[in-house]
């Protein structure tokens, strides 16, 4: 059953599946890999000197280099215009590319057209598995690096990843380019094994096979593609060994098994392998090394200024002509009835949506004109009104992603097992553990974010936001879903953060909590600031009281869509 051919095809299938894994990890669905492999295979096969002239191994190495360069270059060329596409749209665009490549190659003379091109057979099972080991190693070391975590964060929630300071566009393109290189590698190995390559080898069916292999194996763990390829290649072999006749039964059984796996093993075959969860030691007090720390501006210095800021949605003014200044070290409360425009305002402050008019300068950046991750880099961090955690990651991993901006890239150094990478990872872990400890979630560090209670999810968001060591922390209804005791504890936490020098903007419906926590309160109604002042002044303000009681009358307020509706 395990002939040389079978072994080689398992390795080849796994390498091809890794090219899908490379993008699935970042939540991208691409079918263009067949096209990359095709371009790489034909280019490498026609440019590489014959093995009889330079020897077999050098020829293969030259071909691999050519193939990987061609594959990744094609990925960049295809990726630049298509990276803004999501989900199925990206899949179809890349599929169109692969088909176009197939037709192009079919109609070229130098590729031999439909007859194909003959290539010397150089690849042995040993070489195939050695190459597979290198590829698998690459992805294994990627998993626990800063880069790997950033990709996973993008997969789980792209917007939250942006808000954590991750340059999503660059990361997606990097993942796509990796996929191109690995697909190119596959194309070359395939060519140097099967003797005759034809454009049909890299058609639609091949693309679907690669995707299926990667998904069956599981796209959240590096062993996935290997398991998937083993499964996909061995199922027909096992059936043959068992004496199942060729024809319809073999594909039927293979498809049925595929269906069963996808329905009953959500994480693919890799979910049968237990995922180790790292738990950092509880080491409090010692300042970590290897993390950058931000120096906050001196208390009282101007941090953010909004001038005439407005946001309009189809004629509805969600926020209208708001002027506001935030000074370093302040705890500012932002309150107002539902639909007052609070969330729209902080979405503009954190750069998620551009203002319709007006100017907002936060920590030296013109928000709305620069990408979200730049605003985060300047020192703005936030939580979201509706939890936007990275659901399938552990609480600890969520916070590690939050620390993206203050930790150093570790992937390349991890590939080389440099001790400094290990030190940096440990420092990041320590830092994350400290943030979890601060919100009282240390004991739940290993739990999946989605399995936490609502109140714990709110606190985890705060820990994640804290991890980027922000200067301005925006909390959007952090106490929602918390009971009285928890809300009090949260209030204490906010005060202690302020004592550390952070500036905090707190949006909250729990007015009692805002009054007791904040230095200054801004009241918003119908998108306009109707009052600002100290808690005492606000509590006594007649307009504020009327706004709150008056909002119960129906028909006078703008639609609820303005609250919490975003790009």
């Amino acid at each position: 059953m395990l002939t040389d051919a079978t072994l080689t095809f398992v390795a080849l299938g796994a390498i091809f599946a890794y090219s899908f894994y490379a993008v699935l990890v970042a939540g991208q669905l691409s079918l263009g890999q067949a096209g990359f492999a095709s371009l790489a295979a034909f280019t490498a096969a026609s440019l590489t000197p014959r093995p009889s002239e330079v020897g077999e191994i050098p020829a293969l190495l030259i071909a691999i280099v050519i193939g990987m360069v061609v594959g990744s270059a094609a990925a960049v060329v295809l990726g630049l215009p298509t990276m803004h596409l999501r989900g199925v749209f990206l899949a179809i665009a890349t599929l169109a590319f692969a088909e176009a490549v197939r037709i192009l190659i079919l109609n070229q003379e130098w590729t031999g057209g439909a007859q194909g091109m003959s290539v010397p057979k150089v690849l042995t099972p040993g070489i195939a598995w050695a190459v597979l080991a290198v590829v698998a190693y690459w992805f294994a070391r990627m998993g626990r690096s800063r880069y790997g975590r950033a990709l996973e964060a993008i997969r789980e929630d792209e917007l939250a990843a942006r808000a954590m300071g991750i340059d999503v566009g660059r990361h997606r393109l990097a993942a796509f380019t990796t996929a191109g290189a690995v697909a190119g590698l596959y194309g070359v190995l395939w060519a140097y094994y099967v003797r005759l390559i034809a454009p049909e080898d890299f058609g639609f069916t091949a693309a679907i096979d690669g995707l299926v292999t990667a998904v069956v194996g599981g796209s959240t763990m590096f062993v996935g593609p290997l398991l998937g390829s083993g499964f996909q290649t061995l199922i027909p072999e096992i059936q043959r060994a068992l004496g199942v006749e060729a024809g319809w039964i073999r594909p039927f059984v293979a498809s049925a098994l595929l269906l069963i796996i996808i329905l009953f093993l959500p994480g693919g075959l890799a979910s049968l392998v237990r995922r180790r969860i790292r738990m950092p030691k509880r080491r409090m007090g010692t300042p970590e090394q290897g993390l950058q720390t931000r120096s906050h501006p001196a208390p009282g210095e101007l941090l953010a200024s909004l001038e005439g800021l407005s946001k309009e949605y189809g004629g509805v003014h969600a926020v209208e002509n708001v002027d506001l200044e935030l000074r370093s070290g302040e705890v500012v409360g932002l309150i107002g009835p539902n639909g007052a425009g609070k969330t729209t305002l902080v979405n503009m402050l954190s750069g998620l949506i551009p203002p319709t008019s007006g100017l907002a300068t936060v920590l030296g950046t013109q928000v709305g004109r620069v990408p979200v991750h730049r605003v985060a880099k300047a020192g703005v961090s936030r939580t979201f009104q509706h939890s936007k955690l990275f659901n399938r990651l552990s609480a600890l991993e969520n916070v590690l992603v939050g620390g993206h901006l203050v930790s150093r890239p570790t992937f390349l150094r991890r590939l080389l097992w440099l001790p400094s990478a290990r030190r940096d990872e440990l420092a990041a872990l320590d830092h994350a553990a400290r943030c979890l400890e601060r919100v009282g979630l240390y004991d739940l560090a290993g739990s999946r974010a989605s399995s936490l209670s609502y109140g714990d999810q709110r606190r985890l968001e705060i820990a994640r936001a804290l991890a980027s060591d922000p200067t301005l922390l925006i909390l959007d209804e952090p106490a929602a879903g918390m009971n009285h005791v928890e809300a009090n504890r949260l209030s204490d936490l906010i005060s202690s953060l302020a004592a550390d020098g952070l500036t905090i903007l707190l949006i909250e419906h729990n007015v009692g909590m805002v009054l007791s926590t904040c230095d200054r309160i801004v009241v918003l109604n119908f998108g306009k600031v109707i009052a600002t002042g100290t808690p005492d002044e606000i509590a006594a303000d007649a307009t504020v009281i009327e706004a709150y009681l008056g909002s119960a009358e129906a028909g006078t307020r703008p639609t609820d869509r303005t609250e919490g509706s975003h790009p």
């Binding site: 298509t82 179809i92 088909e99 109609n107 319809w248 498809s255 269906l259 959500p266 998620l352």
Partner: protein, 291 residues
Amino acid sequence: MQQLLNGVFIGSIYALFAIGFTLVFGILDRLNLTHPAVFAVSAFVGIELVADAGLTVWVALPIVLFLGAVLGLVIERVAFRPLKNRPDAHFAGLISSIALAGMFIALLQWRYGPDTRRFPAGSFPETPIEFGGVAVTVLQVAILFISVVLMIGLTWLVARSRLGRGMRAIAENPTAAKVLGINVDRVTSVTFAISSALGGVAGALFAMNVNSAQLGMGAAIELKGLAVIIVGGMGSLPGALIGGLALGLAEVFAVQYIGSSWRDLIAFGLLFLILLVRPQGLFGARKVREV
């Protein structure tokens, strides 16, 4: 002129196929890759009904429509409903529908073998009709007529009927639809049934048009269907109609003027261009993502 009409005939079949594709995507946000298998199954069954059971094509077509609907119910129940609440339902649905398509095609091979099947001679009227210097057959006119009637019927259904209201509500927001008392599971099933019924008829008509059916015929039209729904706009019914016709015409003229080997490049070139310039398609409305 002759080419124009040929393009319209083949285009109307593309449109009918694509409209089933886009219906499920537009309403349920799922890409159902078993759709091409339904297309192939219906073609083979249609041929069997005519060749072996001795029915006329006009009786066979409603049976194929019904068969498609039943397959649609099976697809929804087996490949999509179990995944409903999974965070990766998008990916998983693609793969499970591919798996189910594999099973359908394997069963097809079991029943009919791997060879090409044809309608027996004289199954349908081949009488040419002269039409302003252009020759068309009754069959071609019938294909166009059936496709257009089905598509108009579907558009009416979605726009006017109670069921269509339920579909549109689910497209907007499944949770809200449920709260409003719409039986989401049932509307979902019916949507799949209608989608597959159209795909089935498209398969039978296609087999009549080229008088043959192969196991791989679904895969060939799958890519075109995807191109059509992207060009027309994901989820847009009129978009699928116009996209299908446009593709049919473009192909016929490409064969005429550029050469048949480049025919398939037209669809993908067009598709790629649209995705770059106008990702929501010609008639699609861009969905706004909620934070």
